[in-house]
């Protein structure tokens, strides 16, 4: 029994932290708010070169052949950096779904291109109204009537739907599916793709929440009122202690869900719904307290806090809100 990561997995996390600190500082995230496409091909290429993008793709297709347990800390780091690029959709969902449920032709066509950073993949699953980054995606993994399709960009149309998070780009999509786009996997492949989406988003939320808490702790230590740091007031301290509790423990949930997906445990879907509902609520708590403890400065466009406040708000709802995932848990709890 060992509920921890290996030395290599921690090294990957550290490498990701350094990489994002250099390549994706808040100024970059802000620049993406104002950018026409909101995406940086240079950053994506660099992420592919480090192996991040192809992490879940087998080595024979040019990836690293790793699994969700390897990926989860990288996703947390992406959240801490508020990375705009579609790492969740491409690396955490579409690539492993193609690996498990794609036809040999789909795999041979897409996997090496994704691993090399030449193709971006996005997803639209479980009746979700939007797909993120469909404007730059080369392939859309789409769930239709319980079946998965890999739809190339010539076969779908994307209409931008501006998001409250300016660095996120979401789209309604009209896709033309057919026998030639169908993937090989059945309904469980679609269910698993959705589980991957919810889990990966929960992992990113863990990073977002962590960052919100870190920024807030630093701020309240410095900011003085009534002749002492505001972080010495118990009302502030207790809020942040409560936040730490849920944010820290939510990580145990997303780690376990990573393990449950990677090892195909029987409780995979429960583990995912536990993780997504709990991590969404944990981030919501961090979101509330972060702005409150910053006071007026946190309410300004100029302060970086809102880059994470808004990412968090968007991701809380993405791939199933806390309430939706609890409804899923309840139907199992009250099944018999």
């Amino acid at each position: 029994m060992n509920f921890d990561f290996t030395e290599e997995q921690y090294q990957l996390r550290d490498a990701a932290r350094d990489f994002f600190a250099g390549e994706c500082p808040p100024s970059h995230v802000r620049a993406m708010w104002d950018d026409q496409t909101g995406r940086s091909p240079a950053l994506w290429r660099a992420m592919a070169e480090t192996g991040f993008v192809g992490l879940t793709i087998p080595e024979e297709h040019g990836g690293l052949g790793m699994d969700e347990v390897d990926l989860v800390l990288l996703l947390e780091e992406a959240g801490r950096a508020a990375l705009p690029e579609p790492l969740v959709e491409t690396t955490a969902i579409a690539a492993p779904t193609l690996v498990e449920a794609g036809t040999p032709e789909q795999q041979a066509h897409w996997l090496p291109r994704i691993a090399a950073g030449e193709a971006i993949a996005t997803v639209q699953l479980a009746g979700a109204p939007f797909a993120v980054d469909a404007h730059v995606a080369d392939v859309l993994v789409l769930e239709r009537d319980g079946r998965l399709h890999a739809v190339p960009s010539e076969r779908f149309n994307a209409v931008a739907q501006p998001s409250l998070d300016g660095a996120r780009r979401v789209f309604t999509v009209e896709a033309e599916t057919g026998p030639d786009t169908a993937m090989a996997g059945g309904p469980d492949a679609a269910a698993k793709a959705y589980d991957r989406a919810a889990w990966a988003t929960a992992s990113v939320l863990g990073g977002v929440a962590h960052q919100l808490l870190d920024m807030t702790v630093s701020y309240v230590r410095e900011r003085e009122q009534f002749g002492r740091p505001v972080g010495s007031f118990q009302a502030i301290k207790h809020k942040l202690a409560e936040t730490l509790l849920v944010v820290e423990t939510s990580k145990a949930a997303t780690w376990y869900a990573a393990y449950a997906i990677a090892t195909d445990r029987a409780d995979r879907s429960e583990a995912v719904s536990v993780a997504k509902s709990y991590a969404s609520d944990a981030e919501r708590k961090a979101n509330l307290e972060a702005l409150q403890c910053h006071g007026g400065i946190g309410f300004t466009w100029e302060h970086d806090l809102h880059l994470w406040l808004k990412r968090g708000k968007a991701l809380e709802q993405a791939y199933g809100s806390a309430t939706e995932h609890r409804a899923r848990l309840a139907s199992r709890l009250f099944a018999s």
Partner: protein, 389 residues
């Protein structure tokens, strides 16, 4: 990451499970707050002892099994799953014993550890006083040296098991003039000493689970002092560290509580109410997160890293979660929640009441919720300290 048990761990789990199946009494024992109940629990402890299960975490040299943390957790999981009786000497086995192993002299260890292990001696914790709760270091019960004895005067309160205990590990003031943390000592007091008067206190759950203990000119042998004179605060911090420890295996209890909640919801026909379903699912998620986090902590501790102030996070988590579980149960019962088992319309045989109130106590004992939040914010987050008198 690998959550499977080794063959050895699996074998241990099977062994414990089989033993419990063969030995756990079919009917629950009478409550420990009554003399008969206490005696029945003592007999049960004796059986655990004879089978070598009294304190598997203790070193072999002291009669334990040197079990590592994971093995302890496996034992605790099985124990809880089997609905085995409540342990009555947790303060001896979990606090007094381990503290003695760190600070006791060889002579003291030989004198006290065997009795703790066999449950011949039940121990209670004499820390809190009427005017010293969260601010424990302001305690006033005094012990003055006279020849080879201490003369102890004062009052302890909220002493769990005080009514039945044979020994008390107590904090006493041995230097009135020193700064408050520096004048405290750790003293073992026989509860049958002349000058001790124990008055049971009835708790809000109607059990006489704790007591107040009056000490008037109680003469205690000087060699009952543990560690150095006036070094008791440091020793007490070690003891409290054991107390706030990981609660190994307690996740099984919460998972069971949750199962009972689901059964209650169905029994009262609330299982189609979307609000109730949402609340129960939230609690389920919390118990699961608690379980995963427990394994995370266990792995860290097994790797030799200290639990440190994160123990406070753990205590906050479980104490508040348990309240929410029982709170939901009370609410689900609606108007029936107020009925006791004496009411013929009752849907519950008092178990929810009793456990609900007891869960509330967990936010008070072993460091209140507010004190835990102070510890977390200061020692984990590094926020500035409270101004203190």
């Amino acid at each position: 990451m690998d959550l499977n048990l080794t063959d050895e761990q699996q074998a241990f789990r099977d062994e414990v499970r089989a033993w419990l199946q063969a030995n756990v009494p079919g009917e629950p024992l009478p409550p420990t707050s009554t003399p008969e109940g206490f005696a029945a629990h003592r007999d049960w402890e004796r059986r655990l002892y004879d089978a070598g299960y009294a304190a598997i975490s203790w070193p072999r040299a002291y009669g334990g099994r040197d079990a590592d943390l994971l093995t302890q957790a496996i034992f605790q999981e099985e124990y809880t799953r089997a609905n085995a009786p409540a342990r009555i000497n947790v303060l001896g086995l979990g606090l007094a014993g381990p503290t003695l192993m760190v600070y006791g002299s060889d002579e003291q260890k030989q004198r006290w550890l065997p009795g703790i292990l066999s449950c011949e001696d039940i121990w209670c914790q004499g820390f809190s006083e009427p005017d010293a709760g969260s601010d424990l270091a302001s305690l006033r019960t005094s012990a003055l040296r006279e020849g080879d004895e201490f003369v102890v005067n004062g009052q302890k309160t909220w002493t769990s098991s005080g009514r039945f205990a044979d020994w008390m590990f107590a904090l006493v003031r041995t230097d009135r003039d020193a700064p408050k943390h520096k004048g405290i000592s750790f003293l073992m007091i026989p509860m049958d000493s002349p000058g001790i008067e124990v008055r049971p206190i009835v708790q809000i759950n109607s059990d006489a689970g704790f007591a107040e203990v009056f000490l008037t000119d109680v003469r205690v042998a000087a060699d009952n002092l543990v560690g150095e004179l006036n070094d008791g605060w440091r020793i007490a911090m070690t003891t409290l560290g054991f107390e706030r420890g990981t609660g190994l295996g307690s996740h099984v209890r919460f998972s069971k509580d949750l199962e009972e909640l689901v059964a209650l919801v169905k029994a009262v026909g609330a299982d189609h109410d979307p609000l109730v379903r949402d609340r129960v699912a939230r609690l389920y998620a919390e118990t699961e997160v608690y379980r995963h986090n427990m394994y995370r902590t266990l792995t860290r501790l097994a790797g030799g890293k200290p639990i440190g102030p994160e123990a406070s996070l753990n205590k906050l988590f479980w104490s508040e979660m348990e309240v929410r579980i029982f709170e939901t149960g009370m609410e689900v019962m609606g108007p029936y929640a107020e009925l006791t088992s004496k009411a013929d319309a009752a849907v519950d045989k008092d178990t929810w009441h009793k456990r609900y109130w007891y869960a509330r106590a967990a936010c008070i004992y072993a460091g209140t919720t507010e004190i835990q939040k102070n510890i977390v914010s200061e020692r984990v987050l590094g926020l500035p300290k409270e101004p203190r008198a």
